[in-house]
């Protein structure tokens, strides 16, 4: 049986090497590419990303990848957005003015609350390991978290967070200052994780492994 062809989209930002190495650690070869043709033919696609939302979208647009990624999503090819890559799946972001996203998952990207539920200031960005809880009404079956355990910790680095319109698309949250912050969202074969699975030790590799087995 041939291994699935996994493409990590290279749009010029972020720590792509780590994503690629983590996928390889899961026993799957990957290609990094910014080519429309290569990405279109993938069996699985990872959209990573570190940095500002507007820069990320601008890079995808200039490479002609917006329609390619939308088609992948529409065709049901498994797609995983990581961090900024997750946020770009939504309709728009409020980071430095409003910027349009890919519009694959309905919803917005908004700032992480600066106050905790008691009204105290929180440190922003939210940096570090945080544990996950099941989102209200969600199940982790048949998602990238199907082998994870509520309470598992992952590595987060972000100042903005995804808010899908449909609560059913929230799979896992983490708590920051008592506020719920989306940790994993999804719709069908499309997933986004706010944390970095490639930087979250064995618990993170499990999430990638699950994505690769979809």
């Amino acid at each position: 049986m041939s291994k699935p062809k996994v493409v990590v989209i290279d749009f010029g930002v972020g720590n792509l090497l780590s994503v690629q190495r983590a996928v390889e650690k899961c026993g799957t070869d990957t290609i990094m590419s910014s080519e429309q043709d290569v990405i279109s033919q993938a069996n699985r696609v990872i959209l990573p990303g570190v940095g500002a939302f507007a820069n990320g979208m601008k890079a995808l647009e200039s490479l002609g990848l917006v329609k390619v990624i939308k088609k992948i999503a529409a065709d049901g090819i498994p797609l995983l957005g990581i961090c900024l890559g997750m946020q770009m799946l939504l309709d728009e972001s409020e980071e430095h003015g409003v910027t349009k996203g890919l519009g694959i998952i309905p919803g917005r990207v908004v700032p992480v609350p600066v106050l905790d539920i008691g009204g105290n200031s929180m440190k922003i960005p939210h940096i570090g390991w945080n544990s996950t809880v099941i989102a209200e009404g969600a199940t982790w079956n048949k998602t990238i978290l199907q082998n994870s355990t509520p309470g598992d910790s992952f590595y987060f680095v972000h100042s903005f967070m995804a808010e899908p319109d449909d609560q059913k698309m929230r799979i896992a949250d983490c708590l920051y200052g008592g506020n719920r912050v989306a940790a994993v969202i999804g719709k069908g074969n499309i997933f986004g994780c706010q944390f970095h699975p490639e930087k979250s030790g064995t618990t993170g590799l499990e999430v990638l492994q699950n994505f690769l087995s979809f």
Binding site: R21, S121, G128, G177, T202
Partner: protein, 259 residues
């Protein structure tokens, strides 16, 4: 400022050429062994992050860590910070392309504070760690040293960290040169003074002698993360030991099962 995240346990690896080394007061460097082997061991013990510092890079104006980092990311899946000899946006880009998640800057930032903003604008504040080598001059007054503790800068630590955060630093790696390698415990006064002055996370570094020192750094120093070197390199304790002691003291740490 409250931080809801777990206290991070950080393994610090000072590198000279191909070797992991350790000194006292950043001097008298002794070879410990192979960095890859040690780094992997700390990763397996549950280190939340690793910091690699090229101890002599500033001296020669270049960073030799790229190859070590490229190998590390094949087997180590936690955040990596790399410092030592990063003088430009191009240097930072090269290190990040090799697999680092953050860059630590000291000497070049003191000489040219605009470098902080330039790197932060390109990669985000979370990517820029200010490495501060602090030397106590009098009661509650510390001076910034550069060139891995070899040169005095004439700058006051508190004034410098405040400026650096305004310029875009996302985190501070605060090394007490007086305590570094001495096993006498962290300089809690220094930690407290810095963590009270800035809104970004502070990593305590220099002086971890016994497990309880980590608790002291957090509870009395206000540290968000604790860096360890000597205590790990000489196998006086494991990350797991530190984690257990912190947890027993009521500190929030990452849940981790060693495999």
């Amino acid at each position: 400022m409250k931080s809801e995240s777990n206290i991070r346990l950080v393994a610090r690896l000072d590198i000279k050429g191909p070797n992991l080394i350790k000194g006292v007061h950043l001097e008298g460097l002794r070879v410990i062994g192979d960095p890859e082997e040690h780094a992997y061991r700390y990763y397996k013990q549950g280190a939340d992050e690793l910091v690699y510092m090229d101890a002599v890079a500033s001296l020669y104006g270049r960073n030799h860590l790229s190859e070590i980092i490229k190998n590390a990311v094949k087997n180590i899946f936690v955040p990596l910070t790399v410092g030592g000899g990063i003088r430009s946006v191009e240097d930072a880009t090269a290190v990040l392309r090799s697999g680092a998640d953050k860059v630590a800057i000291n000497t070049a930032a003191v000489a040219n504070p605009k470098l902080i903003t330039q790197i932060a604008e390109k990669f985000g504040n979370q990517c820029v760690v200010l490495s501060v080598e602090a030397k106590q001059m009098s009661n509650k007054i510390w001076e910034v040293l550069t060139e891995n503790g070899r040169e005095r800068s004439g700058r006051d630590v508190i004034e410098w960290v405040t400026e650096a955060v305004d310029r875009g630093v996302g985190e501070i790696l605060l090394t007490s040169v007086d305590r570094e390698g001495t096993r006498k415990g962290f300089d809690v006064d220094l930690l407290h003074a810095v963590s009270q002055s800035v809104t970004v996370p502070v990593i305590a570094s220099g002086g971890m002698g016994k497990l309880e020192d980590a608790i002291d750094a957090v509870n009395n120093g206000g540290a968000d993360a604790v860096a360890m070197a000597d205590i790990l390199h000489y196998e006086r304790a494991t990350i797991e030991d530190v984690r257990n002691v912190c947890r027993s003291a009521g500190l929030k740490v990452r849940s981790y099962e060693q495999t």
